[in-house]
Amino acid sequence: MTAEADHAALIRLFHVHRHFHATRALTDITLDFYRNEFLFVTGPSGAGKTTLLKLLYRGEVASQGQILVDGMNLARIPRKKIHLLRRKFGIIFQDYKLIPTRTVYENVALVLEAAGRKSDYIRKKVQSVLRIVGMDKRQDTLPPNLSGGEQQRVAVARAVVGDPTIILADEPTGSLDAESAGLIIKLLKTFHTRGATVIVATHDRELIRSIPGRIIYLQEGRLTSAPTV
C-alpha cells in the first residue's frame, strides 16, 4: 500500500473476524477502501459479501478486529451515535427495504427528515433526485404498486438523497431484468462520478464488467486473490 493510498483510505479493516457461534462468516479480513473509488466485493453465495457490508455500517458488529470508517472506530461508537455513522452511507438493499405504507416521495424524504433538514430543502432535493432516477412522475405511489426495477430506483434515490460519502449496494441488480439492471448500473456510475465512494457486493458478472473498478474476492469468508468471476 502506497503512502498516498494510505492517506486516501476512507474505510480500513484490520484483521476483522465475524462469526456466528460455530459458523465463521468472515475470517481475518484486512482491507482498505479508498475515497471516490468504485469497488466490487464479489464471490459465490455465502462467501460473506453481505456480512462485510453490514459490518461497515454497523448492521453487525465484528467479533474480532478493528474497523475505521472516515476516522470513526466502529468498536467505540456508542449506540446513541450510530446514526452519525449511518448518515455517511447510502445503502441499497437487494430487497429494497422501502416502507410500504409511505409514498415514493416520503420514503426518499425520510433520510433528510431524519437529518433534520428544512421542508423547502427536502422538497427541492427529493424532487431533483427522483427526476434523476426517473421516478418523479410516480412520487405519490406506494412501493407495493411499483415494479421491482422501479422500487430499486427509489431505493437508489433514497441512498443518494443525503449526499452520502459512501454508497453501499448489496446485489443491486440481483432481482432485476436486464433493462432495469442497466439503469441501476448507469445510476451508480452517475453518483460515483459526482464524488461518492461506491461499494457493490455482487456476483453479477455483467455488472462487474460494465464498470471499471477494483474487485475484492471473497471465498468462504476469506479474501482471496483467485478471481471467481
Partner: protein, 293 residues
C-alpha cells in the same frame, strides 16, 4: 420537526384506528370514574364545610334562674375557651323560632297549654376552634356549669358522616390510583403493539440514519394526543352527567345549604394534564423496553 412528529403521530393513529379507539376509550372511562369521584368529594366537602360552619351549641337552662343568675352564667360561658359569644334565648323566642321552622304544621303548637321549651344560651364559637374535639370539650365544660341542665350541639351525627366520608375519600384515592395504573398498562400495550407492527419500518429508519429520538417521538405524541382526547371526552361526559343531576337537585331538593358546583377549570386542566402524564409514562415504559431489546 415538531410538526413532522405530530403529523406522523396522527397518521399512525389513523392507520391503527381500532387500537387508538381502545386507548382513547380507556382513558375516557378512567378519567370519568376518577373525576366523578373528585366531583363527589368536592361537593361533599362543601356540604361538610357548611355543616361545620353551622355548628351551634345550645346550653339549656334549669327552671327558675333569675336575671342575675343568667348574667353570671353568660359571663362564665364567654370566659370558656373557644366561645365567641353567648346569647340568651328566652323560651318564648325559642317557641317562636320553632313555629317559624315548622311552617304550615304549627297547629300542633297552638294546642299547647304552656311553653314546654326551656330558656337557653346559644353559643357561637370562634371560627378557628370549630373542630369536633373542641366542640366536644366545650360541651363538657358547659354541662359542668351550675344552672345548665343540658347541652346540645344538634349535629353529633355529622361526625359519623364525616368519618364515613373520609373512608370514601381514601377508597376513591386508591381506586383512582388503580385506574391510572390500568391506563399506563393499556397505553404501554398499545404502543408496544404499534411498535411491533412497525418494527421493519423502525429498522429501516435506523438504517437511514434516524436517531432513536426521531423514530420514537411520534409514539410519545400519539400517547399524549390519545390521553388528552380521552381526558376531554371523559370530562365532557362528566359535565353532561353533572348538568343532568344538578337540574334534579335544584328542582327536587332544598338548596339553601348546598349549591352544587362543577370542578374548577384549573382542576379540569390538572386532570387532563395528569392523564397526559400517564400516557407519556405508559409510552415511555414500552419504548424503553423496545429500545433495550
Amino acid at each position: 420537526m415538531l410538526k413532522r412528529h405530530l403529523r406522523r403521530a396522527l397518521q399512525d393513529m389513523r392507520s391503527n384506528r381500532m387500537l387508538s379507539l381502545v386507548t382513547i376509550s380507556t382513558f375516557a372511562l378512567s378519567i370519568l370514574i376518577v373525576s366523578s369521584a373528585m366531583l363527589f368529594f368536592v361537593n361533599m366537602g362543601d356540604i361538610m364545610d357548611g355543616w361545620r360552619q353551622g355548628i351551634r351549641v345550645m346550653a339549656y337552662l334549669q327552671e327558675g334562674l333569675n336575671a342575675t343568675d343568667r348574667s353570671t352564667l353568660k359571663v362564665r360561658m364567654e370566659s370558656l375557651y373557644g366561645v365567641q359569644q353567648a346569647d340568651f334565648v328566652p323560651k318564648a323566642q325559642a317557641l317562636e323560632r320553632l313555629r317559624t321552622q315548622m311552617g304550615r304544621q304549627t297547629s300542633i303548637l297552638d294546642n299547647l297549654d304552656s311553653n314546654p321549651l326551656p330558656d337557653a344560651f346559644e353559643i357561637q364559637m370562634i371560627a378557628a376552634s370549630q373542630s369536633w374535639d373542641k366542640v366536644e370539650q366545650l360541651a363538657t365544660a358547659l354541662e359542668k356549669l351550675e344552672g345548665v341542665s343540658e347541652v346540645e350541639y344538634g349535629q353529633r351525627w355529622i361526625k359519623r358522616i364525616i368519618n364515613i366520608f373520609n373512608l370514601f375519600q381514601l377508597t376513591g384515592t386508591v381506586m383512582g390510583a388503580l385506574f391510572f395504573m390500568a391506563a399506563v398498562f393499556i397505553v404501554g400495550n398499545t404502543v408496544r403493539l404499534v411498535l411491533y407492527s412497525r418494527r421493519e419500518e423502525v429498522e429501516i429508519m435506523r438504517l437511514v440514519g434516524a436517531t432513536e429520538q426521531f423514530i420514537l417521538a411520534p409514539f410519545y405524541f400519539q400517547s399524549l394526543i390519545q390521553a388528552a382526547l380521552g381526558g376531554i371526552i371523559g370530562l365532557a361526559a362528566l359535565f353532561m352527567m353533572y348538568m343532568l343531576i344538578q337540574s334534579r337537585i335544584t328542582t327536587d331538593m332544598a338548596t339553601a345549604f348546598f349549591q352544587p358546583r362543577f370542578l374548577s377549570p384549573l382542576t379540569l386542566l390538572g386532570i387532563v394534564g395528569c392523564g397526559m402524564l400517564v400516557g407519556w409514562l405508559g409510552c415511555h415504559l414500552s419504548v424503553k423496553q423496545y429500545v433495550k431489546a
